[in-house]
């Protein structure tokens, strides 16, 4: 007997915060916000105060 399957076409949800609000899918973002989300880089969490002073 062949096994049944589920989930075909079911997309992952990707929740992001944009201008303060959470949105469940990127579909409802306008173009500018979508671009902003894509451009985001991570901020490293190390205390490099020395480096900071040099700037």
């Amino acid at each position: 007997m062949e096994n049944q399957t589920v989930g075909k076409g079911v997309k992952f949800e990707r929740i992001r915060r944009i201008t303060g609000y959470l949105v469940g899918t990127l579909d409802r973002f306008n173009d500018a916000k979508y671009a902003e989300v894509n451009d985001r880089v991570k901020h490293s969490i190390q205390k490099e105060t020395g480096e900071f002073e040099q700037i």
Binding site: R14, I15, E48, E51
Partner: protein, 771 residues
């Protein structure tokens, strides 16, 4: 000989002298003229004039110019004036028709996926009928206000993108937002306009009424709705629930010892008597003398041994604590569920709700915060991340910040939940601009944040009323800073001069709008004003104008793109150079000082907002790129950077970013927020998460949060980071998976599908009980 003219839409149509005569005649009629032949004669002169000038195929505009000229030359000044007005009106209508119809066409026939206007506000589903209807109304109102209500100078500045008047569709209708005092609102009950709700009696109804209050008020205003004292308000419901639970459990215990059937009424009246005689009730923390008084009465009434009484009391206490905890969890779960599903504004939009909490150290308040956090952590029915309410946890030294503080455990829990669900955000009561108001025993002095960042506290209109509750923003307008820099060609003095002119313009526009708002009456806001939510509205009657009490609110000037501005002026933004950092602060401090001066002058609360840019992030840059071309680091992306933020694309450490952005929080008294993008799954590194929040506090920020990806696979229910493949079930995006494989996975999580009960049990076990 003129045979053909060119219409505005480019079509060529036959020339008709009668049409010109008719237009002249209509204008003449309005001034009392009745002679059509005279109009026809003038039309002939117009034709002759055009032919003399060598027009073979004139445009409509050219003909109209000629008509004006001929009318004036012939001494028909009044008719000419009317003709010009008529012409201006026609062109306005025409402009409106074509622009608006184009927009309507897009709204009607194009999916949100392809239509940027439909996606302008991510919380409205503009693909639904009601969502589309809402957009028709909104777009129509915007055009109407731009063309007929706004001062033409303001309209032009908005239209061309020098400034952005937020919520222009609501220009003539209402104000932005309000901080709702639920403690006051619930006392004695309230009316929603559709019926009276009596004072709630347990935590379940407190939570339900909080949702109704938010929903009702959302219909009276266009912005977000905030509960600034969520813990204090809900605590009263918890106390009532506990009291009830204690009485009923004590009755049960004593029924056993006394061998009686029903002692509930007896215990109830004993409780009431102790309350009226001694002023104490059974309370969650059991830190009063209630048990002592009660033991005495029970002994006298039922002649029971001390031991039995004490046993029954301990049993009732333990049971009641547990039941109250459980009821509070369910109430908070329901609140979050409701705020994510209930609709306002004709079903197309979920109310923008925020709740602030964290400073109440009472056992009841703490229980509320613990459970609202746990319910948020558990997520919605299928484990989805709740998008509302925006939650804000208050950090305060001596209360929630240090290890020895009474609510430090809640701060830890808040970090854990935020690391999984993106909420709560964190507000900092020790930053001087917030601390100056703070009195622990008075929630009305604990600064709150609304929606994505709005803050309302200072009150120059009435300095004795610098309070949180019953106040909000009236309207706000943002300035396109990068354009000013581009126009100044890098000349900083010119930039400041132009900035001052724009600030003048925006102040004038905000005052115009305020004048419109002031003419509204209490009856226009049945909930906000009718139920006394807005400060001092309870002193007014239904037909009174609200201008005077609106002065408790704020008028805010916002800004966008400080980073791009610095890039133009100094070729570096504030993440890149000390010079830019200093100039950035100088610019924003200048804007703030202008707001303070205006407040002083007018007695109104002008304040400076770090604009969140909802709906605006792309508009300014699009217009500027069309005007000035692609300027690297300035107009070369699809958006301008949010307010004073260091650009999102710029690599910088979390702690540097916080240090650079911190000082701007002090300057932007109408609201601010900073974000840190955390790498990896912050749930695996709560220590780092907490250190980011602590760093924000130490750098005197007012409000901050941590961003991280929150992905979810709806098929197996996994929530966390998902790359290409779901780490739990191993399927790719959109891929099918064997039911048997899934069943085995689900076996691990006790039950299948929506299992809120299991979630709550799991949560109960995981957390260290804060009480």
């Amino acid at each position: 000989m003129i045979n053909t003219i060119i219409k505005r839409d480019g079509r060529h149509v036959d020339f008709s002298i009668e049409k010109i005569a008719n237009a002249i005649y209509m204008s003449a009629q309005a001034t009392g003229g009745k002679d059509y032949d005279a109009s026809l004669a003038l039309a002939r002169q117009v034709t002759d004039y055009l032919e003399q000038k060598g027009f073979e195929m004139p445009t409509v505009e050219e003909i109209q110019d000629a008509v004006e000229k001929i009318l004036i030359e012939n001494g028909h000044a009044r008719t000419a004036k009317l003709y010009i007005l008529y012409r201006a009106d026609r062109s306005k209508v025409r402009e409106m028709n074509t622009r608006l119809m184009k927009i309507y066409e897009g709204l009607t026939f194009v999916d949100a996926k392809e239509n940027d206007i439909k996606r302008e506000n991510a919380n409205i589903d503009a693909d639904t009928s009601m969502g589309t209807m809402l957009k028709y109304g909104s777009e129509g109102a915007k055009q109407f206000n731009e063309l007929y209500v706004l001062n033409p100078a303001h309209s032009k500045a908005h239209h061309e993108g020098d400034i952005h008047i937020h919520d222009l569709d609501f220009l003539t209708l209402t104000t932005t937002c309000c901080q709702i005092d639920i403690v006051k609102l619930f006392e004695g009950g309230f009316s929603t306009g559709h019926g009276f709700l009596r004072e709630p009696n347990d935590i379940a109804s407190y939570s339900a009424l909080a949702c109704i209050a938010i929903q009702s008020n959302q219909n009276d205003q266009h912005g977000g709705q905030s509960i600034p004292n969520f813990d204090y308000g809900m605590a009263k419901g918890v106390a009532k629930t506990y009291r009830k639970a204690y009485i009923s459990n004590l009755a049960k215990a004593l029924e056993l010892s006394c061998n009686e059937d029903d002692m509930l009424d007896a215990i109830k009246s004993i409780c009431k008597k102790i309350e009226s005689d001694y002023g104490v009730s059974p309370v969650l923390s059991n830190d009063n003398d209630y048990h002592q008084f009660e033991a005495q009465v029970l002994k006298d009434s039922f002649n029971l041994p001390d031991e039995d009484i004490s046993k029954a009391q301990v049993f009732a206490l333990k049971k009641a604590v547990k039941e109250t905890d459980r009821s509070t969890y369910q109430a908070m779960e329901a609140l979050i569920h409701n705020l994510n599903t209930m609709h306002s504004r004709a079903g197309a939009q979920i109310p923008f709700s925020s709740i602030n909490y964290g400073s109440d150290v009472s056992a009841e308040g703490r229980l509320v915060v613990k459970n609202v956090l746990l319910a948020t952590e558990a997520g919605l029915g299928n484990g989805e991340t709740p998008v509302f309410p925006i939650q804000i946890f208050r950090i305060k030294e001596g209360i929630s910040y240090n290890k020895e503080d009474p609510n430090y455990d809640l701060f830890k829990l808040a970090c854990r939940v935020s690391a999984k669900r993106l909420f709560p955000n964190f507000s900092f009561m020790d930053s001087p601009f917030n601390k100056q108001y703070y009195i622990q025993d008075d929630y009305n002095t604990h600064v709150a944040y609304m929606g994505c960042r709005t803050r309302v506290m200072t009150n120059v209109y009435d300095k004795s009323r610098e309070v949180v509750c019953g106040r909000g923003n009236l309207s706000f307008t943002s300035i396109n800073l990068p354009r000013l820099a581009i126009k100044a060609h890098g000349n900083i003095d010119l930039f400041f001069e132009d900035l001052d002119r724009k600030i003048d313009l925006v102040i004038e526009q905000l005052l115009d709008r305020f004048a419109i708002q002031s003419k509204k009456r209490v009856r226009n806001f049945p909930f906000l004003m009718g139920q006394g939510l807005w400060l001092d509205s309870d002193n007014l009657s239904l037909d009174d104008e609200i201008g005077e009490i609106l002065k408790h609110g704020t008028l805010s000037v916002g800004f966008i793109g400080l980073a791009e501005t610095l890039k133009v002026l100094l070729d570096a933004h504030h993440g890149e150079s000390v010079e830019a950092r200093n100039l950035g602060l100088e610019i924003v401090a200048h804007m703030r000082s202008r707001m303070d001066a205006e407040s002083e002058k007018t007695g109104l609360n002008f304040s400076l907002l770090a604009t969140p840019a909802e709906g605006l992030s792309g508009r300014f840059v699009k217009l500027d790129r069309a005007k000035y071309g692609v300027i690297p680091g300035v107009t070369d992306r699809a958006y301008y950077t949010n307010s004073f933020h260091v650009p999102v694309y710029y690599p910088i450490s979390a702690f540097e970013k916080i240090k650079i952005e911190g000082p701007y929080h002090t300057l932007t008294n109408a609201g601010h927020i900073s974000y840190i993008e955390m790498d990896g799954n912050p749930s695996d590194n709560l220590e780092a998460f907490e250190s980011v929040i602590r760093c924000m506090k130490e750098n005197k920020m007012g409000y901050g949060s941590v961003n991280h990806p929150v992905d979810r696979d709806p098929v197996c229910g996994y929530t966390g980071i998902i790359g290409d493949v779901c780490p739990r079930c191993g399927r790719y995006d959109g891929e099918e998976i064997d039911v048997e494989v899934l069943r085995k996975l689900k076996g691990l999580s006790i039950c299948e599908a929506p299992c809120c009960d299991d979630n709550s049990l799991e949560s109960d076990d995981k957390v260290t009980h804060p009480i």
